[in-house]
């Protein structure tokens, strides 16, 4: 187990170093901090002096080293636009994005699992056919069109839910602005989280169905039937757990897609989260913010992937043994 975690950590460090290199390269190549700091009136000589003081003439590696040291201490530079530490600006927006992502994941779990399982158990049933047809079509609709259609139907035509912003939020634990606790906040959350969930749902429904059908063909399920177990017990105790193993893996792979999709969703719904901030920063050429976003998202990403692996290990006893042995 220890080795397993160590190996994961090593991999995580490797990925983080690459990400930080990229982010640093962006900061280095884009935008001249001197230009940002001083006015037009400052002479070239003074600028050069400033460059030296800032260490901008040092070698790439030593500059990167300084950058990395700062990054570890939480210093990712100062946003040009907000004039605040980039990390603070981003962490400020983190709750909004996390709440959106968790709501979407929640919706996916409570809808995709029953649908996929049902479609696998009764493949010929009209409801299953409907589920499959809808998810096949859903797979072909890009997320931004899903979002646009949701806005059009529920916000413009039916006027059921607001189409932009986060609504009223409450502050919990002093640091977390949450939209979960007000009716207004939940109403605002409805469309964005639905758009995100609908866009990712078809993959999971199809995957769960395919895996479940394969598991149901297996000998151990047949053996379970021959023991005279009840159908619900076979489906939910014997088959579902085996079905979820590959689903968890794919879920981990989809984490990156989820991040990309939050950028799209937040842009469309003007959801004040990290993705929205990121696109703003790109448009304003706010490089410290862009590179800070990359590092934060990279960090979240590495953490999620490690978590997914750990969950996989918990569900799958075979993995657990392998780590016992090590």
């Amino acid at each position: 187990m220890v080795i397993f975690i160590l190996r994961r950590l090593l991999q995580a460090c490797f990925v983080m170093i690459i990400i930080s290199l990229i982010s640093f390269a962006i900061q280095d190549k884009l935008g001249d901090p001197v230009q940002q700091m001083v006015g037009m009136t400052v002479s070239q000589q003074e600028r050069d002096q400033l460059r030296n003081e800032l260490g901008l003439n040092d070698s790439f590696l030593s500059q990167y080293w300084r950058f990395a040291q700062g990054a570890i201490q939480g210093d990712l530079g100062t946003s040009y636009y907000y004039k605040e530490p980039a990390l603070d600006v981003i962490l400020d927006k983190l709750p909004a994005t996390l709440e959106l992502a968790f709501s979407a994941i929640f919706i996916i779990i409570i809808v995709a699992i029953p649908c996929g399982v049902w479609a696998a158990i009764k493949p010929k049933h009209p409801v299953s056919r409907l589920i499959m047809v809808v998810s096949s079509i859903g797979l072909s609709i890009p997320i931004f069109i899903v979002a646009i259609l949701l806005v059009y139907v529920f916000s413009i035509e039916l006027n059921l839910a607001p189409s932009f912003g986060r609504g009223e939020t409450t502050n919990i634990f002093g640091v977390w602005e949450s939209g979960f606790f007000t009716k207004d906040g939940l109403r605002h959350l409805l469309l964005p989280s639905m758009a995100l969930a609908i866009a990712l749902m078809p993959i999971f429904i199809r995957l769960i169905r395919a895996e479940m059908m394969e598991v149901l063909q297996s000998e151990y399920i047949r053996f379970a039937w021959s023991k005279g177990l009840s159908a619900p017990r076979i489906y939910f105790k014997h088959a579902l757990k085996n079905t979820m193993l590959p689903v968890i893996t794919v879920g981990g792979i989809q984490a990156g897609t989820l991040v990309a999709y939050t950028i799209l969703t937040e842009t469309i719904f003007q959801w004040p989260g990290m993705g929205f901030l990121f696109m703003d920063a790109v448009n304003r050429v706010d490089t410290p913010l862009v590179s800070a976003y990359l590092i934060v998202v990279g960090g979240i990403f590495v953490v999620t992937n490690t978590l997914v692996d750990l969950i996989y290990g918990l569900v799958n006893p075979t993995v657990r043994l392998a780590s016992h042995g090590l």
């Binding site: 063909q217 297996s218 000998e219 151990y220 399920i221 047949r222 053996f223 379970a224 039937w225 021959s226 023991k227 005279g228 177990l229 009840s230 159908a231 017990r233 105790k237 014997h238 757990k241 085996n242 193993l245 569900v315 799958n316 006893p317 075979t318 043994l321």
Partner: protein, 332 residues
């Protein structure tokens, strides 16, 4: 009354283009405590027969007609709930590959206890002690430890023991064992077979042993059914069948046993291979591979007759018997 009687069973596979017959007019009986064997090459329909008894054929197969009676209860007309009460409790099954038969994500204990608790109302603690006792019974060392382990932590032979234990949990009347030793090492095969035999004898459990190996069958079964292409072609006491096989197919199977050839000699294989369901030959299904086939064999299906040794469906045997009868008449 017979414990189990199967009569005129037809099982079909429902394919896109057409219906394929997997079992044709299969009938046999099984008495309490009796051990019978179903023998044939792969593809003969042995496993289909085994699974159809508890109605677990699996799509696209289904029971087309015929009856399967457990004592006086008709199994083919039972609903899912009634079948559940029979499966495991009265008729239990052992599968071919112990590596695939246990659910990899549940502990041995889970899989044993759930079988008991599913059929009888008893506390987890009592179920656990029964399970551990049965694990002990199938000669598994330190059953308490094994109880909490996962299947992949056990060897193949050990897993087959666990499966046998799980089958014994509810003291069933019939055990259907589908090639229970085929996937195991040769050394372990004999052990498992001995265990199975001892368990059936000690508890008076009837056994249906499905196997392609007449050598295995001869050690265990009292009576043998030989199947070819979804039909029973010969049926009789195991000893008689092995000493004096009547059907050319049974003869071929026996000759093919490695024990029947001298060292250095080629194995006596039966020419050709089992026809697939879709390409069933006319008349006697065995005629394309039969060294004695006549024109009649290609056109008509032989009926069962009693040869004096076993019941057999073959024109060759029929003709011979008729000849003897004619001789007898002439002699008189």
């Amino acid at each position: 009354m017979n414990l189990l009687s199967v009569s005129n069973l037809h099982v079909n596979f429902h394919m896109k283009e057409r219906e394929l017959a997997a079992l044709i007019d299969v009938s046999f009986t099984l008495n309490r405590g009796e051990r019978i064997a179903i023998v044939g090459e792969s593809g003969a329909g042995k496993s289909v027969l085994g699974f159809s008894i508890v109605n677990l054929i699996g799509k696209p197969g289904y029971i087309h007609s015929g009856s399967i009676k457990l004592e006086d209860k008709e199994l083919t007309s039972m609903n899912a709930r009634q079948l559940q009460a029979i499966r495991g409790k009265r008729i239990a099954m052992i599968f071919q590959d112990p590596m695939m038969t246990l659910n990899p994500v549940l502990t041995i204990g889970d899989q044993l206890v759930e079988a008991i608790r599913n059929h009888t109302k008893i506390s987890y603690k009592d179920a656990r002690s029964i399970a551990i006792e049965k694990l002990h019974h199938v000669q598994i060392a330190s059953p308490e430890k094994r109880f909490d382990q996962y299947p992949h932590e056990l060897s193949g032979g050990m897993r087959q023991r666990v499966i046998i234990a799980s089958v014994l949990l509810l003291n069933p009347d019939i055990i259907i064992a589908d090639e229970p030793t085929t996937a195991l090492d040769v050394t372990i095969q004999a052990e498992i077979l001995q265990l199975l035999l001892a368990i059936c004898r000690d508890n008076g459990v009837a056994l249906v042993l499905i196997s392609h190996d007449l050598g295995v069958v001869s050690k265990v079964a009292e009576r043998t059914l030989v199947m070819y292409a979804g039909q029973i072609v010969e049926e009789g006491p195991t000893l008689e069948i092995i000493n004096d096989p009547q059907h050319p197919y049974t003869q071929g199977l026996l000759n093919a046993l490695p024990q029947m050839t001298l060292p250095g000699q080629r194995l006596n294989q039966i020419q050709g291979s089992m026809p697939s369901l879709a390409e069933r030959p006319s008349g006697c299904a065995f005629h394309p591979r039969c060294p004695y086939a006549t024109q009649k064999c290609k056109q008509q299906q032989p009926d069962f007759i009693y040869s004096g040794v076993s019941s057999v469906a073959c024109f060759l045997v029929e003709d011979m018997l008729n000849e003897f009868a004619d001789h007898d008449q002439e002699a008189q």
